[in-house]
């Protein structure tokens, strides 16, 4: 494969904010977009190191996010502690199958799939892998889009706490799992935005 005409190979920089393509300055240093004055980089700075840092922190927090209760319900009958998974189970056993599946996907599958996918992407770039660049780019696009939906449970807990805390018969409080889970969502979003999909393609042109 011959070297494809990329902006970087032609000494051009593409602005990630306004998409203007401009000539890279001859003498190193920080380049700024002539149109929107954003700082320009050929590739996102320290992309892999940042991605790994966010990703590994997210993986560590994923354990308490799922083990600790995200919600405590106290009523006359005692206290019930709900984790994310038991919340899904509750929806399922009470007959809301569609919502149970929805929450299962948004809260359990999406964060897990996102962390696995980012690990695969970052590792493949690190190993300078050449397999299926198009599929890997598409994978990146999907996880970047899907990640936000994991916030679902955070909003559910917020509303339940707000509505049920005034009642004398029951009260709902946010558990420590909620903060851990919120952190996982935020960290995986940071990990995804730190990763630069252009790195997937950079090694390809080097081969004869």
């Amino acid at each position: 494969m011959s070297a494809a005409p990329t902006a970087a190979r032609l000494g051009l920089l593409a602005c990630e904010v306004c998409r203007l393509v401009s000539r890279a300055p001859a003498l190193g240093g920080d380049a700024h977009c002539p149109r929107c004055s954003a700082t320009l980089h050929a590739r996102k700075p320290a992309s892999l190191a940042r991605t790994w840092a966010f990703l590994i922190t997210a993986m560590i927090l994923y354990v308490p996010a799922n083990m600790l209760p995200i919600m405590d319900t106290s009523s006359l009958f005692g206290t019930q502690r709900d984790t994310i998974l038991s919340g899904v189970a509750f929806l399922w056993t009470s007959g809301s199958f569609v919502l149970a599946l929805l929450v299962f996907f948004a809260s359990i599958m999406v964060p897990l799939a996102k962390m696995i996918a980012l690990t695969v992407l970052a590792a493949s770039v690190q190993m300078r892998a050449a397999w299926h660049p198009r599929t890997r780019t598409r994978l990146y696009r999907v996880i970047e889009f899907a990640g936000r939906w994991s916030m679902l449970d955070i909003y559910v807990v917020t509303l339940l706490v707000a509505l049920v805390h005034v009642s004398t018969f029951a009260s709902i409080h946010a558990g420590p799992g909620a903060a851990a889970f919120g952190a996982v969502v935020v960290l995986t979003m940071f990990a995804a935005t730190s990763f630069d999909p252009r790195l997937i393609w950079d090694t390809l042109g080097e081969k004869p």
Partner: protein
């Protein structure tokens, strides 16, 4: 415009020449398939402005009226979004409360007011004060506005609560539903390329 400038794929860095698109079309990267740019109607930003303005108004309505009302054994309670974030804060879950506030109130509000300001100034043939940093800011916080996820969260919470109490959806919920659609429509209509070109020409 002079010879149309090239466009680089943000996902694989391949350079492409711009070519005119048929109405409704979009240009995709020949190497990785990412969207490079979309066809935009000539009045795209007029529409985006009208939709953003409507969204600003609905945003106020959505935040003033309660989202859900609830009755458990004679005790009535209701919550607005900001009230809900507040009770979470008072409950001690401050980081989570802050996350909710930022993603559903602060970022969407900043985005809507910002885009309305920038587009309204451009419509009058001016470069609004601070338009460039503002548009820059809007583009960078975009992933953190999560109104549509919140709306789904309200629905899940409603279903959960119907098992223990009688719930009635409030006016705020319907306003949030409409707000979600307006934000999506305004974002889809917005022609960032044209806005940036206009801002550049006006300097």
């Amino acid at each position: 415009m002079s010879a149309s400038p090239p466009v680089a794929c943000l996902e694989c860095d391949l350079l492409h020449r711009r070519s005119p698109l048929p109405p409704g079309g979009e240009a995709r990267c020949t190497r990785c398939g990412a969207c490079l740019y979309r066809w935009a109607r000539p009045d795209a930003n007029e529409r985006a402005l009208a939709l953003a303005l409507a969204a600003c108004i609905l945003f106020v309505v959505a935040n003033v009226f309660p989202i859900v009302g609830l009755e458990i054994q004679g005790v009535h309670s209701s919550a607005t979004l900001i009230g809900a974030a507040r009770s979470l804060w008072d409950d001690g879950a401050r980081a989570v409360a802050l996350l909710v506030f930022v993603t559903t109130v602060l970022v969407p509000a900043a985005e809507l007011i910002g885009i309305t300001w920038v587009l309204a100034a451009l419509r009058r043939g001016r470069r609004g004060w601070g338009a460039v940093p503002l548009l820059h800011f809007i583009e960078s916080v975009k992933p953190w506005g999560m109104v549509e996820v919140f709306v789904l969260g309200v629905l899940v919470a409603l279903v959960k609560l119907t098992h223990v109490a009688s719930v009635e959806p409030g006016a705020g919920l319907f306003a949030f539903g409409a707000l979600m659609l307006l934000i999506a429509a305004s974002a889809a209509a917005f022609d960032a390329d044209a806005a940036w070109a206009q801002l550049e020409a006006g300097r």
